[in-house]
Symmetry: C2
Subunit: 223 residues, 2 copies
């Protein structure tokens, strides 16, 4: 099988990209300092379109809001659908619309947090644009990263995205009730994750039914 | 709801991006000239991870190979899983591994076609990296663009990705057998597509069972 790979100096200038990534990392550290200053625990939520990030966020907010004051920053190209849904469940919500950009960056998040009442927030979730590739390279300053994917994304979703799983602190496998329908093996998926990151916690959920959400809550309370 | 949007001159240099996109469009035109010169009909296939692009490709190759000589270029970050599957079904296949890049570009495709026996190809499919955002901005030189998504990607998959549907020549809604399970309305999804592009053909499929594939074949034969 002939395999073509990009070379340095081709269309996308790799050195330039490096400098952008570096600048983003620095800004992410600035964001983290602000979170620490206000004693906020910040958590990135990453995953493809339809993986169930927003449904999970709604469930988590519903269950955690009696114990914590929750803020959520949601990323999307053009809509506020996710933000509206999460707000209804009782969190302070800021929407970032990236236009055509496929991921949040630390600069956009720094703008968003200027608009949040940081003194009144204990837990801040940052729900990225639905995309399992690009957001991986752009840390935002959060303390933890949760990667969410769904069984319906097929049997190769983990091995096709090694970078994003390497950067994760927890993985949620969602829509496990559809695994059989999809002929997807949960055991195989979990083995694929552990190959990339041997000690990472993996939680299985059916977000729309609330199944497994309690385990995420426990992780967050003890994180 | 407070909405944050990127401003020009922020982390990602928008002018620079414009020049990259322009260069890509020029190279795409070069690729198209080569396709025309060899009388090749070239088709982009775009969609998220797990939308069913590869399963569709396998079904299409199986059915079309008795009438046409088929080439396929497959894009993926690091694996050759898709390429291997499609090759088994009887097409000439070249793999592009993009590393961390989230989309194919016209330069990578121009490298790939140098490695294909163009005189022996009638139909060339270019299966992009699994991503419903970034590939939209990078034409590759193909004559048609097919966007594939699956019902399991949820009810908002169309309205959240207006740009990619605007650029499409045909839309495939896959895994329609799971629509009920997912509480997703096909009627609503089709209405969302038609709002963005009123006259676009929409084909419903269950790719792994071959359902609906014949309609795609007919479209391709008459395109």
């Amino acid at each position: 099988m002939k395999i073509i790979k990009p070379k340095s100096g081709e269309i996308f200038d790799i050195e330039l990209e490096e400098s952008l990534l570096k600048k983003n990392r620095e800004l992410a550290e600035e964001n983290k300092k602000i979170f620490n200053q206000y004693d906020i625990k910040a958590i990135d939520i990453l995953g493809s379109i339809g993986s169930g990030k927003t449904t999970l966020m709604c469930q988590i907010v519903k269950k955690l809001k009696k114990d914590y004051r929750i803020g959520v920053i949601t990323g999307d190209l053009t809509t506020t659908i996710d933000a509206d849904l999460i707000k209804k469940n009782g969190a302070q919500v800021i929407q970032i619309n990236t236009g055509k950009e496929c991921h949040l960056d630390a600069k956009l998040v720094s703008e968003a947090i200027k608009n949040l009442p940081l003194k009144e927030i204990d837990l801040l979730f940052i729900e990225n644009v639905g995309n399992l590739i690009c957001p991986g390279e752009f840390p935002l300053g959060a303390h933890y990263r949760i990667v969410v994917f769904s069984c319906t994304e097929g049997p190769y979703v983990v091995i096709k995205h090694p970078y994003i799983f390497k950067e994760a602190n927890m993985v949620v496998i969602n829509k496990i009730d559809l695994a059989k329908n999809m002929k997807v093996s949960l055991t195989k998926l979990k083995r694929d994750i552990k190959k990339i990151k041997p000690f990472i916690p993996i939680i299985e959920t059916v977000a729309r039914k609330g199944k497994g959400v309690e385990k995420i809550i426990n992780f967050l309370k003890n994180a």
